[in-house]
Amino acid sequence: MAWFTRFVNSMRPRLPNDERGRMRAVANNLILHLHPTRVPAPALQMRRTWGLGGISALLTVILVLSGILLMFRYDASIERAYQSIQFLETAVPFGSLLRAIHHWSGNLLVITVTLHLVRVFFTGGFYGPRRSNWIFGLALLLLVLFFNFTGYLLPWDQLAFWAITVGVGLLDYVPLLGEAMATFLLGGREVGQAALRNFYALHVAVLPALLMLMLSYHFWRVRKDGGIALPTPSGPVEKLTTIPHLVGIELGVALLTLTALLGFAMLVPAPLEELANPAHPPNPAKAAWYFLGLQELLLHMHPLAAMLLSGSVMLGLAAVPYWDRDEAAIGIVGRSARGREAGLVGFLLSLLITPSLVVIDEWWLDLPSLLPTWSTLITNGVLPLALSLAGLALIYALLRYPLRARPSEALVGLFSFIGGALVVLTVVGVFLRGPDMVLMWP
């Protein structure tokens, strides 16, 4: 068995045993050189990043690979798209598994990217020069959402058809350009063959290319900005070589993610509803779960108001680095003990207030019939929007003055409040909306 031992030994990676050699190994490797050659020890603690950016990156790689395979079996025509998916699910070896991997990675990516944003916010990863990567990251989040949106038209089932119909219907409300944009995107007045083709081209060519470019820039910026945000050190910081310290952790996290993803995909196949029927939406007709928070808003206010509210939240997020300049708090979760307190208060308040508002609006408050002479654009649009924004301002003021939080700390509270509201609205949309979108107990 001497040949076998020799074979095994020749396969063993030959790591340089001195620090310099290991640093050079990182710098000279195409993929590894995304990393610095040495990293500060505190950056390696799992609870600094929870590895969320890395997991997101891994998921995009999995999405690209599984997506390429799916392209060989998928047919982007409205007569055959659904059939080709059914064929994949029933006849193609591992077809169902591959589709499940692609589907669940896409879903998981929405979660990990959102949590990554939350992590960056709480550790103050947007201070100073990191500001530009924060704003760029928001664009990445929108891209990931749009990516999913184009993807779920492709199976051409009921969810696909109606979710896209409703989603693009939102565009119609954008003043001036809206209708032209909607027709351009769909390639016509309704969701049909032209829309399927457009979405397919976007999903498999345009968006992946854009995502790759944007991710490269994102990673490059992380390094330019001196790695991830850490608390200002009081003394000298120990630096460890990337190999094996960082790479080892990354491999571990990657393996865990892969195992969990594969296990889940084997147990739960990707859903497929009935063939799209343009005459009859399913009842209730729900969007994909991560858009149900927005859909829930639509039940309570005019589409333009709902879009303006979500738009204001996005703008607010983009403004965070200009609003909160408390740079001394960099790397400290929630800025300070008081900031963490504000966060908790904001979150709990939200868990209390958001469901109450949903219930009140559903069963008691009917502004349009209280003020019948007013245009519904005001009673159902301007008023709910103004009330929501005023509510948010009030929460901020409450944290700021009675609780005597600094702006940066009050902002943590406001962020948690909005996050809590999004969670509540999504839960209501997913579990508590029955036929005709009536509120009900599951």
């Binding site: 109606w162 119909t165 409703v166 693009v168 219907g169 939102l170 119609d172 027709t183 351009f184 769909l186 390639g187 016509g188 007045r189 309704e190 049909g192 063959q193 032209a194 457009n198 343009p278 005459a279 009859h280 939406p281 399913p282 009842n283 209730p284 007709a285 859909q295 639509l298 039940l299 206010m301 005019h302 589409p303 349009p368 519904t376 654009l377 159902n380 036929p435 005709d436 979108m437 009536v438």
Partner: protein, 163 residues
Amino acid sequence: MTSSDLPTTLSRRDFLSLGLGALGLAGLLQSGAITYQFLAPRTIEGEFGGVVHAGELVSFPPGSVTEFPDGRFFLVRLDDGGLLAVYRRCTHLGCAVAWHPTEDRFTCPCHGSHFDQAGVVENPPAPRPLDTFAITLRDGQISVDTARPQRRDHFSVDQVVYG
């Protein structure tokens, strides 16, 4: 250097690079226009968008609602005998509404809007009545032009066609 020191003539080098820049910009705009025209929506395929011959007036009794799935509309004969062709696209976000004869109304399953027989909103979120298509009535034959949905903010009798 004050503004009076600025050269008043353009050097050959500046002139050429200005021209190059202008040409580049023109090229960019052209490529943009080409891409836009290349991608712009093609005409609507299939039947939808043409004129639909719905049949004879007498076959639709007053108070009836008949669906024309390919034409995307409901032919409504009001109780007073007037005709309306109601586009089935919900004015909220575009789901297809369904007619419920027992409740005498159109409902949209997507966000729960209700409309009466004439397509007028009974229950929001839909912001305006269902759109209609133009009807022509000749020798008791009904034809509906589905090319252009007509918006309306409220119901009025001039939207109704009488035989």
